[in-house]
């Protein structure tokens, strides 16, 4: 934390003349504090408005809400929650090892001179808008990967994930998860790259001096020192994958079931994609229903992100790096 010289001067005024509080100071301080308070108010408003608009769907008779089709709210939202978690978990499973690999490549393997441009290249992935990923996933990736699904269904159908029958369009939850994985890759990479670069050089040199190979140095020094940072990077990526809308809405052909089959044309949908697809035509209580599902998504991401922050903050306490 930086010291606040102005504050400390104000706290210990000389006895005879106390510091003059100028009008400019008061206005400036007031507006700065007001803006900060406004953020808190706004977040409270987000929660409050979502609650106000979402609650009618929870209390309404299921038969009055056409999207519910006579079922209870929780039966309706269950498959969506499952699909959200399932797609995000798959995306993380694909992205995490690759992201750690890239971060290690940039921080410890690539020649110093090209490491920074390579970092920019990965950051470029983060700059691409999600709708472009969705378009690419639906038009390019899905048809390109479909033969693989056919092959999996023919040869590995004894594994429940590949039970088939293979989707003819390739627009399955696996494709959506792959696109999501590409989208969260730069986030995990950026955070863990920073963590790896912060590894104390003395530790690394000590490991190398003891005769370890580069990989042994990474395994015994870089990864343990950065462990909590890596975990929080993964959680941040997970939070992003949970809330991502368009890539899933444009790639997945969803039917709203609970299924672990990755390659068939019957796929679970996600909360965000379902809202995006149904909202434009929704009316009456359906709107409230979709807002209520958005509230649940909000709660899920809140929990995931809070855990990530908590890990980051607890790390700051016992980090002996500096």
């Amino acid at each position: 934390m930086t010291q606040d010289p102005g504050g400390s001067i104000a706290k210990t005024p000389p006895e005879d003349h106390r510091p003059k509080v100028r009008r400019g100071d008061r206005i400036f301080f007031g507006s700065a504090r007001g803006a900060g308070t406004f953020i808190l108010v706004m977040l409270a408003a987000v929660t409050a408005f979502l609650l106000v608009e979402g609650l009618p769907a929870l209390t309404a008779d299921p038969n009055e809400v056409s999207l519910l089709d006579g079922e209870s709210f929780w039966r309706w939202v269950g498959p969506l929650v499952f699909g959200t978690l399932w797609a995000a978990a798959l995306a993380l499973a694909f992205a995490f090892p690759v992201a750690i690999g890239i971060a290690l490549f940039i921080s410890h393997y690539a020649p110093r001179r090209i490491a920074t441009p390579l970092g920019y290249l990965v950051d470029l992935l983060a700059a691409v808008p999600s709708v472009v990923y969705g378009l690419w996933g639906g038009v390019v990736l899905a048809p390109a990967i479909q033969p693989l699904y056919t092959w999996l269904a023919e040869n590995l159908s004894f594994i429940p994930f590949f039970a088939g029958p293979a989707s003819g369009t390739g627009r399955t939850i696996l494709t959506a998860a792959l696109v999501l994985g590409v989208m969260v890759l730069p986030i995990i990479t950026a955070v863990s790259r920073e963590i790896f670069l912060q590894t104390p050089v003395l530790y690394e040199e000590a490991a190398l001096a003891l005769g370890s190979t580069r990989w042994e140095m990474i395994r015994t020094v870089v990864l343990p020192v950065g462990r909590s940072g890596i975990i929080s990077a993964a959680m941040l990526g997970l939070g992003r994958a949970l809330g991502e809308t368009l890539a899933v809405a444009m790639v997945l052909s969803a039917t709203g079931v609970i299924s672990v089959n990755l390659i068939s044309s019957v796929n679970p949908s996600t909360i965000a994609a379902n809202v995006a697809l149904s909202f434009p035509e929704a009316y009456g209580l359906n709107v409230n229903l979709l807002i209520a599902s958005g509230l649940i998504l909000f709660a899920i991401t809140l929990v995931v992100n809070s855990i990530a922050r908590w890990i980051v903050n607890s790390r700051a306490d016992f980090s002996g790096a500096n």
Partner: protein, 362 residues
Amino acid sequence: MTTLLPRGEKRRNPYAAGKLNSTVPSLMLVGGLVVSWAIFSLFSPTDEEYELNLIVVAVVGIVLFVLGLFSMSFRVEGRRRAVDRLATMLVTIAFFLALTPLISLIITVVTKGAVRFDGDFFTLSMRNVVGEGGGAAHAVAGTVVMTLAASLISVPIGLLTSIYIVEYGAGKRLTRWITFFVDVMTGIPSIVAGLFAYSLFEILLGPGTRVGISGSVALAVLMIPIVVRSSEEMLRLVPNELREAAYALGVPKWLTILKVVLPTSIAGITTGIMLAIARVMGETAPLLIAAGFSNDFNFNIFDGRMQSLPNFVYYSYIAQGSVPEAYLDRAWAGALTLILIVMVLNLGARLIARIFAPKISR
């Protein structure tokens, strides 16, 4: 070492022994690819329809390369070096694996987007257009207007908040609350921001309201935390000596902030704001919910639905009309425009950061 050896006697150098020649890995890579290609061309079915899938050949070739180099290194160099080589190979493969989608995406967007990247696309709207023709000028206009409004909302709030955090609030409870909830806001899914803006304007203006300002509010919710975080970082970089010098000269605190702290960090703050704009400009989901979509020009942010470029791409893809090709071409052209805008903003931001960076070091 070798100079000490008796003439004519060939002894193994203990330091160089058991080490693979540096040309071996590249030879193995070529070898793996050739073997894979040979296997697939020899054992492929002979019927005419079968085509050699180059991606499969490359994947199998690289797997062969990894296994081959690992086992060879295991025999010659021992387990530890073999594992080290394996890790190097996997890490490098991970990097190039990640570049594949980026390259594929850029190539596709540029080649497919160029088809409709013409004058019509940037001058016409989609009014009364069924099938071919038409353009995205209305969407570009909507995106610019809504992003501008979102920036007008979020930049003052974000900047003032970061000033409060850094200059006034050190150690105060409100600061801790703000920092925590800004973190929370960073994690709000974009579609939830859209639902919030929709709920807000539904309560204010009645059910089913979809106006441009609603989209701007949704974007501002996403933009504020980014602005706060980046400005905060930049304000913290301003050396304390500058503030102390100003106080020593009797400059009031607010003037110190306005005339000393902000000018020193303005380059970094501008960069952060531009990156935030680039980030929200590509958001589709909140605008889909809050601003709706339209086929016509609409410059009035307070009245009527407003089209945006990301939504233009989305609807062209999701609702392909009578001539699907024309809709897809427009979607790709829109995607190309969007990527170009975002890239220009990104590069411009980095350029500003580099050119106007304060020269702190003497």
